[in-house]
Symmetry: C2
Subunit: 212 residues, 2 copies
DNA sequence: CCTTGGTGAGTGGTGACTCACTCAACGCCG
DNA sequence: CGGCGTTGAGTGAGTCACCACTCACCAAGG
């Protein structure tokens, strides 16, 4: 499975889109500026300057500033997450992991890499969520809708009578991932070794899955 | 140990402070508005209106809008967190928990309640962190500086040769707490039963601390 | 009558957005 | 081919609303 970076995926979708080079620069500039200073503290002058474009150009394609934000977030919501989830289902279906640990290792490292690659967009998204709670609901709903079916077959595969595997079993794993990912989201210039973190997570979580 | 709510602590500190009733209303209004709409999208007119005060009054005590934000965040940074940490150290020293589980139960539920009670301020703080990464460093540094000494005696007490207890042992616990707390921070109107969550966390984490 | 907390109309600056214009690219036709 | 209208991306000075902040004034209490 390819690493799915919104940054590169954005570039892809831009290449496919009918946006000119300058318009693409606008979006790239916005990603950088929004993620660093926040949407509200970024002026259209900032954007134009960083994109190497006049302010008028910004408004040739985007009706207003808000529409740029939507254009940045939309791929995340409408295309990237679903695409990734589908890919993931396909991958899990194909691979037929021969152990629970192997499956988990794939899932954990894959999802962490995804977040890592997309931390800038995720930052922008988080900023918005903190100001517009509706977004939270829709995001959660979609994450569930997409993720649960991806994980259910795995549950069925590896669940055993003495250790029933449920969605709740993923909570500790998810929590551990959060402890590694949150710092990187809050401070994007931090480094994170995904493989090492994955090892650590699996190490800490295996006693939990087989004990009790 | 008293529940430490920034909201009530804020009220306390306000009562102690030399702020008039109207000025206190300004701060309360700002907490509500900032946490809901964000700092940047809250106008001074909004603030005055909700506080039932004229715009001039807002500026009688606060030099500018930014200073109100600082006034809201300052107790969190300068007084609440340390006070709570100190209280916590005192409490742990006093109680001499007779089991690791009892100590953890106290720690987990106490900290979760703290976050829950202060979710509005924490929201405002998070918003700021996402726009000003310096804050992240200082917050992390302080949290460590205050929290590590509070927890070290516990480690010494309950660490056993066959199950050495380190700071890293807390990562899964912290992660699990995050899974319960994040939703409430992102959407403050959500409910959270701290006792139930605490039970759940301890249930999921005990095999981890004693196995391997 | 001074001090102190409060008022709200007013102001200056800023920032989102507009519009009249330029210019290069592209047919299209004599 | 070469002139020539059309198109549409790009420009940037200009506009206008809004918003943080001010200030001249007020009322009440010591």
């Amino acid at each position: 499975m390819q690493v799915n970076s919104v940054e590169t995926l954005l570039a892809n979708s831009l290449a496919k889109s009918d946006l000119s080079q300058k318009q693409q620069n606008v979006l790239k500039a916005c990603l950088k500026l929004f993620s660093e200073q926040g949407y509200d503290r970024t002026t259209t002058a900032d954007i134009a300057k960083l994109a190497g474009v006049s302010e008028g150009t910004v408004y040739k394609h985007f009706k207003n500033k808000r529409e740029i934000l939507d254009a940045l977030l939309e791929p995340l919501k409408a295309s990237v997450l679903p695409a990734v989830a589908d890919e993931f289902v396909a991958e899990t279906a194909k691979q037929h992991f021969d152990s629970l640990e192997a499956a988990l290792r794939f899932l954990v490292s894959d999802r962490m890499r995804f977040v890592l690659d997309n931390r800038l967009i995720i930052r922008v998204f988080l900023q918005e969520v903190l100001v517009n709670t509706d977004l939270f609901d829709s995001a959660l709903a979609m994450a569930k809708q997409r993720f649960v079916p991806a994980v259910l077959p795995m549950l069925a595969n590896f669940s055993q009578p003495q250790h029933p595997l449920t969605l709740e079993s993923f909570r500790p794993i998810f929590g551990l991932m959060l402890t590694y990912l949150l710092p990187v989201i809050l401070k994007p210039e931090l480094q994170l070794d995904v493989d090492q973190a994955t090892d650590q997570i699996l190490l800490e979580v295996t006693p939990l899955l087989f004990a009790k």
